[in-house]
Symmetry: C2
């Protein structure tokens, strides 16, 4: 019965809204780079490919940021969105699984740019332990619990094979990490206070397969 203090911490915000806020933030950065100072919900909407209603409703979940009759100030709205999304501080991340993908992420310059600081990397493979990638040395997986508290690791990129994903997720959450960016093409289950976001290239590829295929498929007729 969620009737009482509906004003508590932001619950009940559609996760589609969060995704769109990220798009709005990108659009604003682009507009700002072009020297634009003001923006209307209409312009923002067309750039983000949603309706203006949607833009205003999404923003309204978090407060009122515009001026009636005028619109929004680009830099102001951009700052508000960064604040809402938790992007005004650094996040300390580690990579678990230093295969091809883990190595690529360790070298990715975009991380630093967006204030995500890579502070550790882990792998089970003895031969990889001690090697350096990007700014970090690879550690053995059993160092994870101590490293999480010593280095204050807040998020982990899970880049291990499917067969190792659940065990690795258990180790990560057992060590106290509350956020997992899961690149393994599988469902991982975690305690309720841990958040998992999936980055699933193969699933996206199969969705594409479905939608391209779709036009040629006739659904079964339940005429019985």
């Amino acid at each position: 019965m969620p009737r009482g203090g509906a004003r508590g911490t932001s619950k009940g915000i559609p996760s589609a809204t969060v995704s769109r806020l990220i798009t709005y933030l990108r659009v604003l950065n682009g507009l700002e780079a072009n020297g634009l100072e003001r923006v209307s919900s209409d312009l923002l909407a067309s750039e983000a490919q949603v309706s203006a209603f949607q833009v205003r409703k999404d923003l309204a979940y978090f407060g009122t940021f515009g001026t009636r009759g005028t619109g929004y100030t680009v830099s102001n709205l951009r700052d508000e969105l960064k604040r809402i999304l938790g992007l005004t501080r650094q996040w300390r991340v580690a990579i678990v699984g230093m295969g091809r993908l883990g190595q690529a992420l360790a070298d990715y310059p975009g991380l630093v740019e967006y204030d995500f600081e890579l502070v550790a990397a882990f792998d089970v493979d003895e031969r990889k332990v001690g090697r350096g990638f990007g700014t970090v040395l690879v550690r053995a997986l059993d160092e994870l619990p101590s490293a999480v508290s010593e280095l204050d690791i807040e998020m982990v990129f899970l880049t291990v094979p499917v067969r190792a994903a659940q065990a690795a997720a258990d180790a990560v959450t057992g060590a106290g990490v509350k956020g997992i960016l899961n690149f393994a093409p599988t469902v991982v289950s975690v305690p309720p206070d841990v958040r998992v976001e999936n980055v699933d290239f193969l699933a996206a590829l199969k969705r594409l397969s479905y939608f391209l295929h779709e036009d040629g498929v006739v659904p079964e007729d339940p005429a019985a």
Copy 2:
């Protein structure tokens, strides 16, 4: 204002359903590898981390695949899902943008495994043209129109920088490709008969930031 253009599906099937079907297929493959022959909606649901109602409703959009009182035959349901998802045939794909990510995808063995055949790669950079990655040679971008028809390219992985994404998408759709797997962290707009699926690691990372940050944020108090 995007009127009428239902971005979901053409047949009224929730796109969340399509995503879940992909998960069910993975679960079934796992169960089959373990020698299981029968499965109930309950088991499938718990493995996929959804409700059994959801599993049955998702399947019901496409037909009836189970036996009352018994459940589903693993191999049969797996085959049906592959058929529904368009995964019973090969798909011919090309990569546009042979930077780090494009190169990594060209080498990725998972593509072949899932019947996605890489038939071409493109880049604007003169110095990359002619080099080989995986099974293909890099071509100049202006060869795209002829290559699409000659090689029957059906999907493209868009792995170019954000600033080049829209122009590249225009070139791709102009050449007649109907499916784009967009890895660039930006919205690309395409004609209504083209499907775009996004693989957006930075967006997932920012969603994680939001949800971890969330607990510490107090929404604005309208006492001004």
